[in-house]
């Protein structure tokens, strides 16, 4: 088990969210979209030069800015 941020996760790799380092406003916003600790996610892609990250949570695809992806910590096998 390794703890890395969403940015470090590779494309097509799966991970489980364990922590979100953000204020309560952002936490709630992510939560309401289904991004919460305990959820399994798959990273779909990462755009170059600190571009956004696309992840799949449940059945939705969500694009997150680089800075935000950096704050989301996932656990991988």
């Amino acid at each position: 088990m390794k703890k890395i941020s969403l940015v470090q996760l590779k494309a097509n790799q799966k991970g489980k969210i364990i922590e979100i380092h953000a204020g309560s406003g952002l936490q709630n916003r992510l939560l309401s979209m289904g991004i919460s600790p305990g959820r399994e996610i798959t990273k779909l892609s990462q755009f170059m030069l600190r571009g956004p990250v696309a992840i799949k949570v449940g059945r939705s695809i969500i694009a997150l800015g680089y800075g935000m992806a950096h704050k989301i910590i996932v656990e991988v096998e």
Binding site: N28, L31, S36, G38, P52, R59, S60, A63, L64, G65
Partner: protein
Amino acid sequence: MNKKIFLIGNPNVGKSVVFSRLTGIEVITSNYPGTTVEFTKGYLKIDEEKLEVIDLPGTYSLEPTSKAEEVAVSLLKECPPDKSIVINIIDATNLERNLFLTLQLIEDGYAVIVCLNMCDDAIHRGIHIDISALEKLLNVPVIPTCAVTGFGIRYLIKRLKEAKPVLKNKVNHYQRWQEIGRIIETVQHLKHRHHTLREILEDVSVRPLSGLIMATIVIYISFKVVRFLGELLIEKIFDPLFFNFYQPLLEKISLALGQKGFWHHLLIGELIEGKIDFRQSLGVLTTAPYIEFAMVLPYLVSFYLILSILEDIGYLPRLAMLLDNLLHRLGLHGFAIIPVLLGFGCNVPGILATRVLESKRERLIATTLISIGVSCVPLQAMIFGLLGSFSGFYTGGVYLVLFSVLVILGLILNRILKGFSPELILEIPPYRLPPFLLLMKKLFFRIKGFLFEAAPIVLLGVFMVNILLYFNLFEILIDIFAPVIKGLFGLPKEAIIPLAIGFLRKDVAVGMLMPLGLSPKQLFIAATLLAMSFPCIASFLIIFKELGLRDLLKATLIMLLTSTIVGTIVNFVILR
């Protein structure tokens, strides 16, 4: 008091389509989150009882994070729960995420009825939902629908009365997700299938390299098609109508008016070499309708057709993701591309759409950049009409100057304005094939909006200008601004009239440049100035309404400064 019906749900679940089905009122719908940024009201009649129906902007939760979500939540909270029925529209292909808001609504004591929309799409994707089990677990009515075809809407209306508040403990977000997990396990069954072509295309567009290639192809084709269709409409329909049918009629009127005098000047305008020239005569009956119908309308139709197709397929959020990086440097994030694209049709809906952006700072930047660097179709059509006969260098040049100004100004604004640009959080919707009828309705709706709002202003504008010209009332203005216009921009001093008219409507203003006999360089400068300086009156009012007086003044100041600087630079440095 009659009860109010609220339509609420996550972004992009089809609330507005359900609204149209319930009330018969046409509203713009698309396939991206945040199409509805204002609320729309309508009425639904059930057994002689008239109920008010309110279509709210989409929201993920009852804690708003943008202006559009704020509108939704505050409107809902204004009305006491016992006076309202909440139709919670949820996307069957994405039940899990949608249930978050559903549970919040139920916990807050609203009379909720769940409209499980896009059921047909769920079946295609191999998702089976046990409706009666879901109904039992939520303890509120659940009605499967497909709003695009109208399936289930009647049943929804029939069961509206069953919506009642149910007793439910409030829980925190974490507990709510756990509850959703339990519900999903019971009611949703997924069939495993092979990837379809659609899913492969969906995948391709969110990956960097393939996404970029796809975007280039999509944008290139869109431009080509818009131009081709616009030209086709002009050549085959509008020009023949004007020249073969309308002109002979006008020539008769002109003769009847004696070819001169006040009324002739007002209605027909000046005769060019003894004949009516639609482009130059500048009369209320000649140039005004020609500009609107034969020069602007065809391109507007083709632009909105292509934009609507891209919107409904669900391509735009993918473009937003691709451009996130670039837009971040301008103080915005990727989603700002949607207001910008809408702004190319008309700045007003573009500025309104900035409501999806989170902060006031972003909205100020986006609004200023749209008003300066994004030319609406009417303006673009006229620039093409004006400069199209010269080398492509000039039309291309206008776009290049505007784009550079947009980027440079964005970079500067991002530096000097306090605060920082928020990060992108955007749901990427699945691709959907737009139903043809819905697409046509939307196109019709947008064109109708243009005709009713723009055409009267154009006629009024030409009317006013003609009166002012007839009585030589522009002289004062011409004298005051002559040093700037002649000295800095190298234009004849009369050019102040079209530049001033640009405040009313840009297309009329460009139309007024035509009779001045300017050189290509002068036309280039005048067109660029018109595109960048003051927005037209409609955009001006919407900026005031959306951002308030202070930001309007800020934006105006930036516009005046930028256009003066750029006009001078183009005159003295670039086109020396």
